[in-house]
Symmetry: C2
Subunit: 335 residues, 2 copies
DNA sequence: TTGTACGCGTTATCAT
DNA sequence: ATGATAACGCGTACAA
């Protein structure tokens, strides 16, 4: 079991450089390659990663940072789908994944990541508009890809969807059903997604000449936010666009709990199209945004950055799709 | 922004070795240390991880391998709790975590891990009795800690609970309630946990002189396994011990769905004491096994292995606790 | 306490 | 196509 290139070179009767070429696919004569490869496999040789990183400057390891309450990562399918997508794409290219969750403070986490060195690049979820962890990574010399967050500065690479456009689309759909008092349960204020979806909602309402006053309640992207539906209904809402599927599921519970029915009394729409959206009763109209795909794209974007280090930032906007289900069937309009 | 120890040494007016000592806590005169530290902070110097790994032989990175369907990691709180525990303990000691999930085959995953080199050690979930991935890691020279699996060979380090004892304990509890036909919904056959819990169940029944024939149905640790409760009840079961909380939750649904009530008609017990167990109606009697704690202990065990590399394997058996709730209240006995 | 000097195992640049 | 040889940046005996 040879442990170094030198030992292997001795065993194969060639120089260390040639063995290195065989391993990394350099120019080597065919029979030389065969001879070395044979020894390589016989001795189960594995090159030393540290030495290789030191000499080449590349480690084959990417960092993934999802700094949220640990609970959330597992309870909210949005984040787990994201992680699955990233993990999948990295594993496919045999790139290692170092993961940082919300176990320590953002400052400590940033410190640990930067002290780790060794990373070729990093993918970070960036949902808050201001986030010292994200700022720190962008300020470092580490190639960085953001998920879900467009920064004001135009120098960051990121993967996102057009939340304004998508929210406009679903709101417009509700309006076309004949609903006039379309309410909105927002996401957590301060996140880009929440603000942009509000903007899209208001844009669609304004274009249709409809008022939005009193038709918006603050939520936080969670099931509990659905309680806001009660307020909206008391203010006469005949349709509700929820900032995500989780809050829509909560809203559905409150609405039916009050003896009202969806979509007859209130049309309901969400955002995400997570797996459970289609299983609700009635199935939920929502915006599909391919969360897992976002994770995959983030990894690919990082690969791209690493390939041409000075190609400038890369921004990827993924498409969304309105998925119409029974929760916005046109019953009221027909009646 | 100094990039190497040499640059820093020049800036501080000392030798490179001294700077290294300041960073790693070696013996340095107090004023020298102060002077160097000042430069260290001013230049935001970060030592090169690869060089340091190459020279010292330690990387400060641990691998965590949870090779299961990606779905399961997030849907089953058992695994997410485990991961949280591990991540927490590693982050606390500023040790990096490389994660491998079930994105590729076990063979490919093993290959990627071993080729990665660079890991100081690895923690792997080992639930199947035979698992090429686990075998491969144990056969490698990588310090390895198993979670949830005692191997026949006595050379592996692991963290586990005594499943036989715990299953005996909960079964005995049901018997003491006056139940005579105690049924069992097993876990997935082939896993150590399932087999050991069966053994514990049978041991308790035998000791009480009770028959188990026809009182056992095969499950798979999931909610769907709860359907087996119907069979058991038809065969006269007046109590059911489910191999975990998930299957117990499923069983509860089937039992009440048939118009029967827990615990009056059938006493019900689970295993794990995951968060939702206390929220069921009625709250579920179960075995608490501190899953998150298992993750923490696994990390600590790895640290121990790394501290004295030739101290031999370390085995940790964590305690379990019977948590009695309303699903096994003594109604029938009292009546 | 501090400095010198060697070794860690590769990659990559030169010659040949 | 192949072989020397110089980096790569740090830890650590050993010497002073």
């Amino acid at each position: 079991m040879a442990r170094t290139l030198d030992e292997l070179a001795a065993l194969s009767g060639v120089s260390r450089a040639t063995v290195s070429r065989v391993i990394n696919g350099g120019p080597v004569a065919e029979d030389t390659r065969r001879r070395v490869t044979e020894v390589l496999e016989r001795t189960k040789f594995r090159p030393n990663a540290a030495a290789r990183t030191l000499a080449s400057g590349r480690s084959g390891v990417a960092g993934v940072v999802m700094h949220l309450e640990p609970r959330l990562l597992f309870e909210d399918p949005y984040f787990s789908s994201l992680l699955q997508g990233v993990a999948d794409a990295l594993a496919e290219h045999a790139v290692g994944m170092m993961l940082w969750l919300g176990n320590r403070s953002k400052e400590e986490t940033l410190d640990q990541i930067l002290w780790m060195g060794l990373l070729d690049g990093v993918i970070v979820t960036a949902h808050q508009q201001d986030d010292p962890l994200v700022d720190g990574l962008l300020a470092s010399d580490l190639p960085t890809v953001l998920i879900g967050h467009r920064r004001a500065d135009r120098t960051a690479s990121y993967v996102d969807v057009d939340n304004v456009e998508a929210a406009d689309m679903v709101t417009t759909h509700l309006i076309r059903l004949g609903r006039r008092r379309v309410g909105h349960i927002t996401g957590r204020r301060g996140t880009v997604a929440a603000e942009d979806r509000i903007a899209g909602y208001e844009r669609a309402m304004a274009r249709a000449g409809l008022a939005t006053e009193g038709l918006s309640v603050e939520g936080a992207f969670d099931r509990a936010s659905g309680a806001g539906a009660v307020d909206l209904i008391e203010r006469g809402a005949d349709a509700i666009f929820c900032a995500n599927d989780a809050s829509a599921a909560g809203a559905l519970e409150w609405i039916t709990g009050r003896g009202l029915s969806v979509p007859e009394d209130v049309a309901l729409a969400g955002f995400d199209d997570l797996a459970f959206a289609a299983e609700l009763d009635p199935p939920l109209t929502t915006v599909r945004q391919g969360v897992q795909q976002q994770g995959v794209e983030a990894a690919h974007t990082l690969f791209h950055l690493l390939r041409d280090p000075n190609a400038g930032p890369k921004r990827v906007i993924l498409p969304t799709e309105l998925v119409i289900r029974r929760s916005t069937a046109g019953a009221k309009q027909a009646a």
